[in-house]
């Protein structure tokens, strides 16, 4: 489906929700599952068959992943069911290195014979890669990973009756339709389960499992020649966490629906923002997307090295910028953290078997690190900080964000507004675009309010803003405190060819930026 995917998977569907840190935290064990069995299939034996075949065919390194995923999607639109769907996918992928060049092959047939065939195919492809080779690929060292890990989950959403899920969606959808101006409503719920086994010729053998849950509602008010929307808890798919059904109930979709509908109705008669330069306070959800696009992607080392140039683009960041580039103001500190319980960006090991880590990308405004892989990390004189993830059994791992967060500041939100003489407060993304070096961006939001004399005033509709990345982050003079900080899950970050969709996350709180261009093209 090129049309939907080309539109929706350009980069991001953002989703969010507060992260729980309860008793159901992630589990990581050094216990080795020598004989993990899935439906009668001895997955470790199959991985071993693949690795043996790759080595026999001449691979200097190989790894194999078996991935078993299930999804459930439910959507109600204006009282009518648009989707009740369950999908399952299962397969094996083998990555092989020979003569310093990569090959990868994959199959939906998970048997020892097929695994060996896939491995030999991967080696043959790697030999072809060597026909147009550069410097041989070298992997930075890592202790072979062995053990199991699972994400936090309270109530398994796949065990919750469909009736209960649909009843909640129908109630939320109905509550959205309380306003006559709201003529189109949507309520959505999704669940994702992944079990993954990884082994390498270096001796790694891991098993990981995760469950993710997400939900959201949208109210559309449609006037003559105009559509405005209001979403909760976020646009583009709602909120997502590594969690179970308890996350869905915590969102309280039904309780939030009347406010969402009222705001959508009010937006129809609200004015556009006057074009010009404004001091801008951006809500946490939009700050999360701003971090994603203008800090997360440009600090992926494969982009910096030009490896993604033809599709997603490169980066304005250069290799020599680490330790010197003034990325933003002193208020801007950004971390990459795969250890936050409940975040979509968390795991035990990445898809190269590198353990989950927390690392600084920007410290008090200065670029201090990049997101790396075993292949790329040596270019900045480091070892991998564990950012390689693949979208399923049929894709190779790429450098993907984990939880890339703007660390909290010290401000209370009300104090920040009171400290802003004139400006604009905006919430919830509805449009995003950034250039191929991640410099010139333009974002649109669903709603905004004028700030006049330190108070929120008149509502404005679909405010947008534009800027250049380092100047914009340089204009950040305040970030709200941890009380206002939350992790926002983004379940649809696109990258790579063939396209891959990563589940990532961003911690963010409302923040203020001075003198930003708003109202572009209105």
């Amino acid at each position: 489906m090129r049309r939907p995917s080309s539109v929706f998977l350009r980069c991001v569907d953002q989703v969010h929700g507060k992260i729980g840190f309860g008793a159901t935290g992630p589990f990581r064990s050094s216990r080795l599952h020598q004989h993990s069995i899935l439906g009668g299939i001895h997955v470790n034996d199959i991985i071993a068959a693949a690795l043996n075949a790759a080595q026999l065919a001449g691979a200097s390194y190989a790894d194999a992943r078996i991935v078993d995923t299930s999804r459930e999607e439910l959507q109600i639109a204006s009282g009518v069911v648009e989707a009740v769907e369950r999908s399952d996918s299962f397969g094996i992928g083998v990555r092989a290195l020979i003569d310093g060049a990569w090959g990868f092959a994959s199959s939906r047939t998970v048997t020892a014979d097929e695994a060996a065939h896939v491995a030999r195919h991967a080696v043959a492809i790697a030999r072809a890669s060597a026909m147009v080779a550069g410097a041989p690929v070298a992997l930075t060292p890592v202790e072979p990973a062995r053990g199991t890990w699972s994400g936090p989950v309270g109530i398994d959403p796949f065990q919750v009756p469909l009736e209960d899920k649909l009843a909640l969606l129908i109630a939320a959808d109905e509550a959205l339709r309380a306003q006559p101006e709201v003529t189109l409503t949507k309520a959505h719920m999704g669940f994702f389960r992944e079990r993954k086994w990884f082994g390498s010729t270096e001796g790694a053998m891991t098993e990981q499992s995760v469950i993710e849950s997400g939900a959201g509602i949208v109210a559309y008010a449609i006037g003559e020649g105009e559509v405005v929307s209001r979403s909760y808890p976020n646009s583009h798919g709602g909120g997502w966490e590594q969690a179970g059904w308890e996350y869905i109930t915590r969102l309280d979709l039904v309780g939030n629906a009347p406010r969402v509908a009222e705001q959508a109705a009010a937006l129809l008669s609200a004015p556009f923002v006057e074009p010009g330069m404004r001091d801008l306070i951006i809500d946490g959800g939009q700050v999360a997307l701003q971090v994603h696009e203008s800090i997360g992607h440009p600090t992926e080392l494969d982009r910096v090295l030009g490896e993604e140039a033809a599709f997603a683009g490169t980066s304005f960041v250069g290799l020599g910028d680490v330790g010197t580039l003034q990325y933003g103001s002193e208020h801007v500190t950004v971390t990459s953290d795969a250890t936050i319980s409940g975040s979509l960006g968390s795991f035990g090991w990445d898809d190269e078997g590198v353990p989950a880590q927390r690392d600084y990308l920007v410290r008090e405004g200065v670029l201090t690190g990049l997101q790396t892989s075993r292949e790329t990390a040596a270019s900045i004189g480091r070892t991998s900080n564990g950012c390689m993830r693949a979208d399923g059994w049929n894709r190779i791992p790429l450098i993907r964000m984990t939880t890339v967060s703007l660390e909290p500041g010290t401000w209370a939100f009300d104090d920040l507004v009171a400290d802003t003489e004139g400006g604009l407060y905006i919430e919830t993304n509805n449009s995003w675009s950034i250039d191929d070096k991640r410099l010139n961006f333009q974002f649109g939001c669903e709603i905004g309010w004028q700030i006049e004399n330190g108070k929120l005033g008149r509502m404005v509709k679909t405010p947008n803003y534009t800027g250049i990345t380092p100047q914009f982050w340089g204009s950040c003079d305040a970030v709200c405190s941890r009380d206002y900080w939350q992790v926002w899950g983004l379940a649809n970050c696109g990258k790579g060819e063939p396209m891959q969709t990563a589940h990532v996350a961003h911690g963010a709180a409302p923040a203020r930026f001075r003198n930003v261009q708003v109202g572009v093209g209105r």
């Binding site: 996918s89 090959g103 147009v132 993604e308 140039a309 010139n440 333009q442 093209g521």
Partner: protein, 446 residues
């Protein structure tokens, strides 16, 4: 070995027979694909995939459930069929659901090319070598891909729909970049991999990269633009997504809503969806197994009709044009074989007609700011030039545009005679270059 259309149809019929519901439909989508990716003048990623998916839609009265799996053993298939029925049993009724469509004759088309099936890893590497040599020999850096794929699609349902088709696709893209901020782009798409002229494609991108070195500034404002086909295809994508669907029309979200028979674009603009054209790529039936029909959506600037599927045809009273996406489909029907009518000029003649304007090779990261006016924002990329006195005079740093696509096409003055396929074999637009007299740039990168 990828399953044949006959095998896929048999599998679809089997899934239908295993689905114990009032009505049932099964879609089989099998794929064998390989993609060789290159960057920095070397192959950096090289992947292959074999997959097959069976998706089952079960209908109980007006209740619908869908389940899919890529495990094709009997037990897994039965589990998917049962899951679809369970979902249908619980789903609320959709009073507007008209039932699954019955069988209708589908035009057969042979769109699977043997040469593409045989385009193996060595052939792809050889093609990459030819492409890369055009950049490396000039001190430039090439990145891109060479991809081949074969697909088998089949649909069957309990009312007698039973269709299948194989198709192939070969695609190559090249980005050539220089140290002095110049970059150029070239692309290829065809069902037949043997038509890939690697050296020429590499040279096209490298030429553009050399020509666009040391780009300069341009003030924001309204300009005349000449859009190369790649840029035009991006605009078509978004018109299809937010404008050409009967669902968007019915919900009042389309620029065509309440404007059928109105002149909404220039008389120079005609946009048709036509999967049946001799030159078209893709399948000739939709994902409900219904024949795709030729649909003129814009005729000489006049909004004529959106595309439909069985659901939206029944709901609106229009004919079913055969544009269903796989179920469940919250997007509504979608045109996947769009064509923009050609003009009579060459791209050089379009450029030659412009006193002062901008030439755009392609766009990057386009998104919708307002769906009804199809207000888009995005960047130019890989070859943006100032046009002065009918000539490309100097390269420009990438520009940001914030522009209604409908309005841009209202100000379309001419199109090229030559057209090009852009996209993938499953959904490619066949588009010319366009001359547009009013197009708004709102910023520029550093």
């Amino acid at each position: 070995m990828l399953m044949t259309p006959e095998e896929a149809r048999a599998l679809a019929r089997k899934a239908v027979s295993m689905t114990h519901a009032d009505e049932a439909e099964a879609l089989v989508a099998a794929e064998s694909s390989s993609l060789t990716r290159f960057a920095n003048n070397r192959i950096n990623q090289n992947v292959a995939e074999e997959n097959a998916l069976v998706s089952v839609r079960a209908v109980l009265g007006k209740r619908i459930g869908v389940a899919s799996t890529n495990r094709l053993d009997d037990a897994s298939l039965q589990a998917a069929c049962d899951a679809a029925v369970r979902a249908a049993r619980i789903a609320p009724e959709d009073p507007s659901f008209p039932g699954l469509p019955g069988p209708n004759a589908v035009r057969e088309a042979d769109r699977a090319v043997r040469a593409t099936r045989g385009f193996d890893a060595e052939a792809r590497a050889a093609a990459v070598g030819s492409i890369v040599a055009q950049s490396s020999g000039r001190g430039l850096s090439a990145a891109g891909k060479v991809r081949v794929a074969e697909h088998t699609i089949a649909v069957a349902n309990s009312l007698g729909v039973d269709v299948g088709q194989a198709l192939t696709g070969a695609q190559a893209t090249v980005l050539s970049s220089g140290a002095d901020s110049g970059s150029g782009w070239a692309s290829f798409l065809d069902a037949d991999a043997s038509k890939l002229a690697s050296e020429a494609l590499g040279a096209e991108a490298a030429d553009l990269a050399e020509r666009s070195a040391n780009p300069g500034s341009l003030d924001p404002g309204e300009y005349t633009v000449v859009l190369a086909p790649e840029a035009v295809a991006d605009i078509m994508d978004f018109l299809a997504y937010v404008g050409f669907s009967a669902k968007a029309y019915h919900e009042g979200r389309s620029f065509m809503s309440n404007h059928i028979e109105d002149g909404v674009m220039s008389e120079q603009v005609s946009i048709t969806d036509d999967a049946l054209a001799a030159h078209a790529m893709g399948i000739t039936f939709d994902y409900e197994g219904q024949p795709k029909r030729r649909v003129p959506m814009i005729e000489y600037g006049v909004a004529t009709k959106p595309v439909t599927d069985s659901y939206w045809a029944a709901k609106t009273g229009w004919d079913n044009t055969g544009h269903a996406l796989p179920a469940p489909n919250p997007y509504g029907p979608m045109p996947l074989n769009m064509e923009v009518a050609p003009g009579t000029a060459s791209i050089d003649e379009l450029i030659g007609s412009v006193k002062r304007g901008v030439y755009v090779t392609r766009f990057h990261y386009v998104n919708v700011e307002d769906p009804i006016s199809v207000l888009l924002t995005g960047m130019t990329r890989d070859g943006t030039f100032m046009i002065e006195g009918g000539k490309l005079t100097r390269p420009l740093k990438n520009l940001r545009f914030t522009q209604s696509a409908v309005s841009a096409l209202y100000w379309c003055d001419a199109a090229t005679k030559e057209r090009k396929f852009v996209g993938t074999e499953e959904g490619a637009s066949f588009v010319p270059g366009l001359l547009i007299s009013k197009f708004t740039f709102t910023g520029q990168t550093k």
